[in-house]
Symmetry: C2
Subunit: 242 residues, 2 copies
DNA sequence: GTCTATAATGAGATAGAC
DNA sequence: GTCTATCTCATTATAGAC
């Protein structure tokens, strides 16, 4: 995947669009193009989540969106950039909510550090709650992010968007686990990510392994195991011999 | 990815090849085609690991292998089947060694169950040890398996090969953690997988996050954190409120 | 902003000579 | 078993009419 500069859509040039008054097609005042744009964005999210970035073509995406093929490039410039915008849209929301949850945990803890459980929950809940609510868009987003997280090709892209969140929580964990070495905290954060990703990727594997005792899309149950697992794991890093 | 029946290579038809005596090209008695076959297998492993299954073409793979394009289909029938053989080759080895390590742990534990640490180590070590030794083939394999593990499209393929191992270790964990609910064990195994996958995928992300304190390819250090993390996490599942 | 049409390239797979 | 050549179809992206 080559990283290119985004062409086409000239919207951020500061002022108003050069053309005449924007045509409206619903009573909320959205421009006509915005609904196509949104349709492509949603279709791309679903297709990328199910098939992976390289496994899905713009043709498929625009078909699913019910729009013309050429509109993908018109609105997003390139497939790469479409992926970027798919990620950015929801990543912003999760980031903000995680930071707010972390601040709330700090407020509740007063002068002391929040517990590991509180920090881990502040990280996991904002995204997993939306999966518990069975929001399809978020489910596809979660599946996509999981795949990008593992793939060596996409770390640059995901890093730009996800690293700021990571640094906040690594810092919080450091304070909550004063006896753990920095190295342990960094790896611990990766393990937290990895465990979460297994829950988010919804591959259906746990159904097979458990003969139906567990279900990939029962995120509420998974979260009840995930928080103690990760918290217990992080605590164990404090006492590990080194 | 369509699952197809593998054509072309007629070797398993029971008897000897129909053609005359196999041409030899080295003193170990390998047939000429076997070295091409191996070259393709190795190139595919590397390319798939770095670019993902859909991100790499047979053209690229055969170029890397230094052989003609048509030979990929001649020897493996299809791209799908090539992937299958790439995985199967090493999965067998890891499976066998994991089972042997588990049996050894049982022998050492005598009448009691092996410790969680011993079970987790028996699972992790056979594969991670090869990464510690910086074996490039295994590194690419590990990266590939990590990606397949997350992708919804490939669970059927990976399941066939990897599920038997999983069931053995889930069973062992059940005995080592008698107070944990079955549900907790299944999810715990997934979290173990997820944490391991983060170590194996070697995306370089931890370098960025830790400003060089940790390194993606320092698997020995990662393993020293991974075993206590996972073991502590699994133990915490026993006492989790439900 | 949307459409038709097409450029330009790449994909997996195969037929047939050697 | 290997190679050349090619089939057939899909790919991203763009040009230009409306």
């Amino acid at each position: 995947m080559k990283v290119r500069t985004a062409p086409a859509r000239k919207r951020s040039s500061g002022g108003l669009p050069k053309r005449g008054p924007a045509p409206r097609d619903d009573r909320n005042g959205a421009r006509r193009g915005d609904t196509t744009r949104l349709a492509i964005l949603n279709a791309a999210e679903r297709c990328f989540g199910e098939g992976g970035f390289d496994g899905v073509s713009l043709r498929t995406i625009t078909e699913v969106a019910g729009v013309d093929l050429a509109l993908a490039n018109y609105h997003f410039g390139s497939k790469d950039n479409l992926l970027r915008e798919v990620i950015a849209r929801r990543a912003r929301i999760v980031h903000d909510e995680r930071i707010r949850a972390l601040e709330e945990a700090r407020r509740l803890a007063g002068a002391r550090s929040p517990s590991v459980e509180a920090i881990v929950t502040a990280f996991l809940e904002p995204l997993l709650r939306r999966l518990i609510n069975r929001d399809q868009g978020w489910q596809h987003y979660a599946s996509l992010v999981s795949q990008l997280d593992i793939s060596p090709k996409f770390t640059v892209l995901t890093g730009d968007v996800l690293d700021p969140t990571a640094l906040h929580f690594i810092n919080a964990l450091r304070l909550a686990l004063p006896k753990a070495a920095p190295r342990a905290i960094y790896w611990g954060y990766m393990f937290l990510l990895g465990s979460m990703v297994q829950v988010m990727s919804a591959t259906g594997r746990i159904e097979r392994l458990s003969h139906g005792v567990c279900e990939s899309d029962d995120i509420a149950s998974a979260l009840r195991e995930l928080v103690p697992f990760v918290s217990g794991g992080l605590r164990a890093l404090q006492t590990a011999p080194r």
